[in-house]
């Protein structure tokens, strides 16, 4: 799912690069001193998870964990994912440096969307089963949104991928279910052990959800 060199057109690369920088700036500005270790550790978890590739389809699919990152980090998912993808591009050659912006947006934007739609509900959840369900939804939603965003980038670059986009989606749908289960399990585990992590991922400019 990392888009490689030479696939996207220059306007798409430039726009996504600029947008990614802006979003990372927002993520860093809203980052709290006490939450930095969490960002580092979750970035490492994302780094490892995207490395494990299951050989399905042409290249192989891998878990994203961006649903979990969105719920726990909010906007800070952008710098976390950008750093992890940058290191993957340098160390392993997954994806290219030019497509960093596009790849980051395709993975971090769904994380932020999941944050805005689901984290309030998780914060006010009462049972761990509820949290599992919300985590599951977050995992599936994040994976599907990532697929949609990647397809949009490919189509905008003029590639004739209409049939292929459907094919790609079919490989990834079962994976989205697995992602949902993993995210749900992780969030319900956190709910039982450290619920304060799910309550306030980051500073809000509205000051409404800062503890």
């Amino acid at each position: 799912m990392h888009i490689s060199e030479g696939i996207l057109s220059a306007p798409v690369l430039l726009t996504t690069g600029a947008a990614c920088l802006a979003a990372t700036g927002i993520g860093l500005a809203r980052l709290d001193y006490e939450r930095v270790p969490r960002v580092g550790m979750l970035a490492s978890a994302f780094f490892i998870a995207t490395l494990i590739s299951v050989p399905v389809g042409v290249v192989g699919v891998h878990l994203l964990l961006n649903g979990l990152l969105g719920l726990l980090l909010g906007w800070a998912a952008f710098p976390a994912i950008l750093a992890a993808l940058f290191l993957q591009a340098i160390l392993f050659g997954h994806g290219a440096l030019t497509t960093l912006g596009a790849n980051t947006i395709s993975m971090a934007l769904p994380a932020v969307i999941c944050y805005y739609t689901l984290s309030h509900r998780i914060a006010s959840a009462t049972t761990s089963r509820q949290v599992f369900r919300l985590g599951f939804v977050s995992g599936v939603l994040a994976m599907l949104l990532s697929l949609i965003i990647i397809s949009i980038f490919l189509l905008l670059s003029g590639k004739e991928y209409r049939v292929a986009v459907a094919l790609v989606a079919s490989f990834h749908l079962p994976l989205a279910l697995v992602e949902g289960f993993v995210t749900g399990a992780a969030t319900s585990f956190l709910y039982k052990t450290r619920p304060e992590l799910l309550k306030a991922p980051m500073n809000s400019l509205r000051q409404k959800d800062t503890p």
């Binding site: 490892i48 997954h94 980038f153 956190l190």
Partner: protein, 201 residues
């Protein structure tokens, strides 16, 4: 948080240790015996990419030909000019791979002359130059060995080594540490707002 991360990371690392960690990458490998270029396309874990189009481009970007890999992921091409050949494979989900066969590997006799190697007059002056530009002898066993060597080098490059993973994680935690330090000196630090009179701040 530590308990969660310990279990999480140990699950991931067990998964890494037990299965061959594949680099989620697309690759092309090609060699030539001077006349024909043969190669194959493969992905993470060694799976071959079967029945997929491959484009051949020159260094200027001109498309020389389009091939399709066969059921084993192999392809073959007969070069018609002594130039660099770039083999490009692009999949439909945004992955791409390329491999270049350099011009000096192709022993082209595309002119009217039927001698494969031009043999300049060997004098004392140009003996060194001749040695550098004369192509290697056509020894099939040697060619096969070199091909295997190149495959091994490519496989080495493809490997996702554990030390690279640990290096990446180290970098991430290091960056987090630096951010931790800098944020500690800004107004985000909780102690700053309390005016404790600490001389270090």
């Amino acid at each position: 948080m530590t308990k969660f991360l310990v279990t999480f990371c140990s699950i991931i690392l067990i998964g890494l240790a037990t299965s061959p960690v594949a680099a989620h990458k697309l690759s092309i490998f090609a060699t030539t015996d001077g006349k024909t270029i043969t190669g194959y396309a493969y992905s993470a874990g060694g799976n071959r990419i079967t029945e997929h189009p491959i484009r051949i481009e020159s260094t200027e970007g001109k498309t020389l030909a389009t091939l399709t890999t066969d059921k084993q992921g192999n392809f073959q091409y007969l070069p018609t000019a002594t130039i660099d050949h770039k083999f490009i494979l692009e999949t439909t989900d945004g992955h791409a791979a390329q491999f270049t066969i350099k011009a000096d590997e192709i022993q082209g006799n595309f002119t009217a002359s039927s001698f494969p190697m031009p043999s300049p007059k060997i004098t004392n002056d140009n003996i060194k130059n001749t040695a550098a530009t004369t192509p290697p002898p056509q020894n099939p066993a040697l060619i096969t060995q070199v091909q295997h060597l190149r495959e091994d080098i490519q496989a080495l490059r493809d490997q996702t080594r554990l030390r690279d993973i640990i290096g990446g994680i180290g970098y991430l935690i290091g960056i987090a540490g630096i951010a931790f330090y800098f944020l500690g000196t800004t107004k985000n630090h909780p102690d700053k707002t309390n005016n404790t009179g600490n001389p270090d701040n």
